[in-house]
Symmetry: C2
Subunit: 242 residues, 2 copies
């Protein structure tokens, strides 16, 4: 039995409310995480400074007649500590990278964005989707010397996220491959194997038909039109910048 | 000019889509954060073990005729390092607490939940809303010996989150005070000063009227009815458990 459009839309809304609530809190969550992380980083830096100082002092002391066995043991222990601390610093770096990829960066002005960097960060962000992380093969075809555009970050990010969301939810067939390409025209192309992206004219039309299937790509195009032209051509989404 | 209900609902949906997308990725994000955090914790634990061992070795060495000044200096440095490491461990603990409050814990079975702990974690979670964190005064009136219920965590969490979301968005007047109370009947009461929570019968009715204002509390009641009875009485939301 076909559902009334009203029922479809209220159902869809209800389905989005709880995750939207989480989504709205994400930025504050990241903000609250960054406090302890900053203190942690500062302490680690200071610790590294203290260890340098101590090492000098110990070396002065060690030279004064410690037996070679004990000295060797001590050196090994200090090195073991240093290795572990180095690993801690690397993990903090990794955590900061994840936080950065998840930060919304809501600046509404046009800024210079390097598309290769943008794609790399976008992939880190989407790896929060464990299906995307583990099952999807990501291929990169990035223009070697980089492609810089002056554009509005949240609109670019919003449009790309919606297209990726649609591809991940509906697009793939058996083979889960996605290709990110940057071109110097300048443009950004997301290609994949599977069902073509549906062509519809507007969110209003999608709503009128009561079929939510093409909602994400259509919304992506509406978001992107302020900064460029988003074309769906079979299994390709082509983001061309004004 | 009044909008068509269809327009209201599609507008609301579009408004929720982007944050919902973030919200759906939050759990994977937390999962990806927990990897480096675990390694970091392990390294810190091993480091503390190494430092104990080294201290013993150094103490043996130090006793053998190091001059008192140098010995004092060295001890101070070691203590300085220990303090800093201790602070690093505390920050990691704080980060883990934030991650835990943000984890959805989607277990669909009834489990024992202590409501005082639940409220404390819920407040940490909502502090991701910086308005709630900085502007709202939180008052606790927790039953001293604790209140344990056997209930379904995601339903409780979902209903409480929606009620809090409504209070934060629409409920407060000038004075921003919210009180969390646990009672041994067993029940949980969220009270605040300001606009009373609207009484409506169902999500369907809200949708039919085309006015999204009472959507969150009504949805909260629908979610909660599987595990209890949620009553809105003026400025109180009373969660009674079956």
């Amino acid at each position: 039995m076909a559902k009334e459009p009203e029922e479809v839309w209220s159902g869809l809304l209800v389905e989005h409310i709880r995750p939207a609530l989480m989504g709205r809190l994400v930025q504050g969550f990241i903000h609250n995480l960054s406090g302890p992380l900053q203190i942690l980083s500062m302490q680690l830096e200071f610790l590294s400074f203290l260890r340098q100082k101590k090492k000098k002092l110990l070396e002065g002391v060690l030279l004064k007649g410690m037996d070679p066995d004990t000295r060797e043991k001590l050196y090994q222990m200090l090195e073991g500590e240093d290795e572990r601390l180095q690993n801690v610093v690397e993990q903090v770096e990794r955590i900061n990278q994840l936080l950065s990829a998840f930060s919304l960066k809501t600046n509404p002005d046009r800024t210079f964005i390097e598309l290769n960097d943008f794609i790399r960060e976008e992939i880190i962000f989407w790896e929060a989707n464990l299906f995307f992380k583990h099952e999807v093969k990501k291929e990169l075809s990035l223009f070697p010397s980089g492609v810089t555009v002056k554009t509005i970050y949240p609109l670019l990010r919003g449009a790309v996220d919606l297209v990726l969301c649609w591809i991940i939810d509906y697009g793939f067939d058996e083979e889960k491959v996605i290709t990110f390409e940057t071109r110097p025209d300048p443009s950004l192309v997301i290609a994949y194997k599977g069902t073509p992206i549906p062509q519809q004219t507007s969110v209003r039309e999608v709503v009128r038909r009561g079929d939510p299937w093409p909602l994400y790509p259509v919304l992506a195009r509406e978001i992107f039109q302020e900064i460029g032209n988003l074309e769906f051509k079979g299994n390709e989404a082509i983001f061309r910048f004004h």
